[in-house]
Amino acid sequence: MTPRWHAGVALALMAALLYELSRASDYDEPAYFADVARVQQIRQLDAQWEQDLLKARLNLLHDYDALVAPLADMERLPRQLHQYPANSALAAGVTAYLRALDAKTELVESFKSHNAVFRNSLAYLVTVSNEAELAAAKRPEHAGVARSLREVLLDILTYIEYGGAEEPEDWQSRLSGLAPGLRGGELRRMVDSFGLHASIVLRERAVISRLLADITTVPTGRTLNSIQAVLSGDLRHASQRVRQHRVYLAALSLALSALLLYAAVRLLRSHAIIKHYNARLRQANDTLETAVRLRTDELSQANRRLQAEIDERMQLESRMVQKEKLASIGELAAGVAHEINNPLSFLSSNVGRLEEYLDSVLAILSAYELAEAGLPESALRSIRRLREQAQLDFLRADIPVLIAESKDGLERVAKIVQSLKDFSRAGTAQQWEWADLHRGIESTINIIASDLRKVADVVREYGELPHVECMPSQLNQVIMNLLVNAVHAVGEERGRIVIRSGAAGGEAWFEVQDSGCGIPGDVLPRIFDPFYTTKAIGKGTGLGLSLSYGIVQRHQGRIEVTTAPGEGSTFRVVLPVRRQLVAA
């Protein structure tokens, strides 16, 4: 069932169809009707011919041209029939007809000859009879002869007109009966002539009757019928063939239609198959797309995870670096603190002693002044001069100030040293205890309350916060640092500082949000570096955040910074509620 097979069958069917069509159209129906018309015309000519023949017989036709005229057509027309002489049956029919026509023509020709003679003799009988009458008018003794002639003429005319079976038998004896009375002479000649022509009339009449009878038996009509039969047979045959062809055509058309239908069904099926495969293809495509999307999602997710890991690792790395930095700085700081601590301690004790000593000196001096009244003027004068030179009063006023300032400076140094110590863990070991962070926050706020109140409104948005296992004083320091930084961040205009807290998932957190200037992007990575500060020299140590960072680290927590330049920063400290003991 290849397409080639199809095409072959279709071509064969079409060829058969064309062949049948050409065969169906080869019968010429108009030609048939033309032929029938010809046969009909011959029939009419034949009938007209016979009618003219009878007219001639009855003396209604005076010339024979009319009997000749139709012959040419009667001989020509049958030869013009379409199938002549190819169709043998028709040719035989035409031949038979032409033979009959020849026979009839011969008979008609014979009739014409005899009819002419008959007419003449008959006319002459009348003439003779009239002449006899005329003769009898002159010779009364001849009246009987004339009467007899007339009587015989009448008998003969009657016989001719009405066709008696027997011709008047006694006319010859009746005429011969007249003869003895006539010896020669004109009348005798008339009677003889009458007798001659009467016999001619009767003879010709018989011949003519026989000829006419023969003419009617000539089978022109029958042969024409057979020609007609051949024609209608052909027509019947042709129409049968046409019917048959129609059946063939119908069958062929049906076959072609079936083939066409088959082709159409196949086409539809192919179409359906193609459609099916198309649908599947589309489906596969869609699935693929989904798969790709899913895979892409997975990939991007993996990517994101990877990125997060990378970020985390980088963060870890930076923390590690930070830790390392802090560790080395811590060691340095511990060293420095230790070295400074010794001179600091004896400076402190010396200054304290010096103050006591000065107090004692000044007290003695005051006693000496009271004792001046008793002194000689001269002595008094040199004392006074000395006193004025030394500006004793000023001294007396300034010495405590100087001492106080020195003590303050020493305290500050001690404090720095303490911070360094704390930073490098070298400081006093703290005790872990469960503490309320809110209390730590509140006490720290109290410590720097005066600074806070000057620059910002403090808003507290505390959540539920459990007690956290921690080292409270260190955390207080963290809170302090964050608050101090927030105060510094707020800047010239009065700002807003929000303190929030909360707990979630075993972690507690607190945060300090300021409405300050925010942290620029380039600064952000360095904020936890020790000694990094953005404040004016002398204003900050640069250790606040790194100290806080270290403290929070020690608590196994973390500091999260959210900041945007110009929108302030939020520092959140997240701590585990319970300390996790790690293998240190």
């Binding site: 024979y64 000859s113 001659l196």
Partner: protein, 316 residues
């Protein structure tokens, strides 16, 4: 009055018809008819036929042409009892006129040809008459460049059929309409004299018209020569149509000749046995009509027959 009117009504119309038919249709019922206008022929073919008609090359030995026996200027025949063919022997019959031959229903005395073409075909190959063979005739005609050109244009070539048709076409122009008698028949009452009218009457009364009728005053039927009395047989004469049909009934049966131009075509009868018209009329009286015609009547009939003379109209 009512009765009279009814009678008029009853008989009037058919009666009037009969009367009018008798009055106006006088010549319509005449047994002789005027020659109608001939069907026009192809002038080129007629010209060819005219030339061929007097071309001796149609005979085997080149001695005779159609015109040798059928002299159109002499009434369409040669005036001889019988004619000398190319063979030097005499023809079987008295030469019939070519004039009005187209009006005959058959050709030859025994009517063996139906058409003029057949007649031509037979005469050419008749050993006594032209003694030729058609292939020779065609070859000889085709050898003539004038003929060849003319036949080429008129027929597409020289063939037996085209030569026959050319001659027949010419002969079809050789009809002689407009004789005085035809003019009389067409209503010119004074076209013929009183005597000639009387002659016509006799022609009819004697029964001549029984055979000599129609357009060609004969030429449309056969008749036995010797209907009433046995004519003397000319020795060596064929037995008429019997020679063709073999039917005893056709013994001495000949085509009735047309009588147009008869006054110019002496001698008469198939065997030329009647040297003059009077003799011919007498022979008819005797052998065909079986009655003795008076001299007076014969003269009148002859006078009438002379009114049938006319020249060929030719073709315009």
């Amino acid at each position: 009055m009512n009765k009279a009117k009814r009678l008029c009504w009853r008989w009037g119309a058919p009666g009037l018809l009969v009367v009018s038919a008798m009055a106006s249709g006088a010549w319509i019922s005449e047994p002789i008819l005027p020659i109608p206008a001939a069907a026009p022929q192809d002038p080129a073919r007629v010209a060819l036929g005219r030339r061929l008609f007097s071309d001796r090359r149609l005979s085997g030995n080149g001695t005779v042409s159609c015109a040798s026996c059928h002299d159109v200027s002499k009434g369409g025949m040669d005036g001889g009892v019988r004619s000398m063919g190319s063979s030097g022997r005499l023809t079987a019959f008295n030469t019939p006129t070519v004039l009005n031959a187209a009006l005959n229903f058959r050709q030859f005395w025994n009517g063996r040809a139906t058409t003029l073409e057949q007649q031509v075909g037979m005469v050419v190959e008749n050993p006594v008459e032209m003694g030729s063979r058609w292939p020779d005739v065609v070859r000889k005609v085709a050898a003539d460049s004038d003929y060849r050109r003319a036949f080429e244009s008129a027929y597409g070539g020289v063939t037996r059929a085209s030569i026959e048709n050319a001659l027949a076409s010419y002969e079809r122009t050789l009809v002689t309409p407009d004789s005085r008698f035809d003019r009389y028949l067409k209503g010119d009452r004074d076209a013929i004299t009183v005597e000639e009218k009387a002659g016509y009457l006799r022609f009819k009364q004697y029964g001549c018209v029984s055979c000599h009728q129609g357009v060609n005053v004969g030429g449309n039927m056969f008749q036995k020569y010797g209907v009433v009395a046995e004519p003397p047989l000319v020795k060596g004469m064929e037995l008429g149509r019997f020679g063709i049909t073999g039917n005893p009934r056709d013994m001495h049966v000949y085509k009735v000749p047309g009588l147009r131009n008869v006054a110019r075509t002496a001698p008469y009868l198939h065997d030329g046995s009647a040297a003059t018209l009077d003799q011919a009329i007498d022979a008819m009286f005797r052998f065909q009509l079986g009655r003795a015609g008076s001299v007076e009547d014969r003269k009148l009939i002859a006078a009438f027959l002379a009114t049938l003379n006319a020249e060929p109209a030719g073709q315009p």
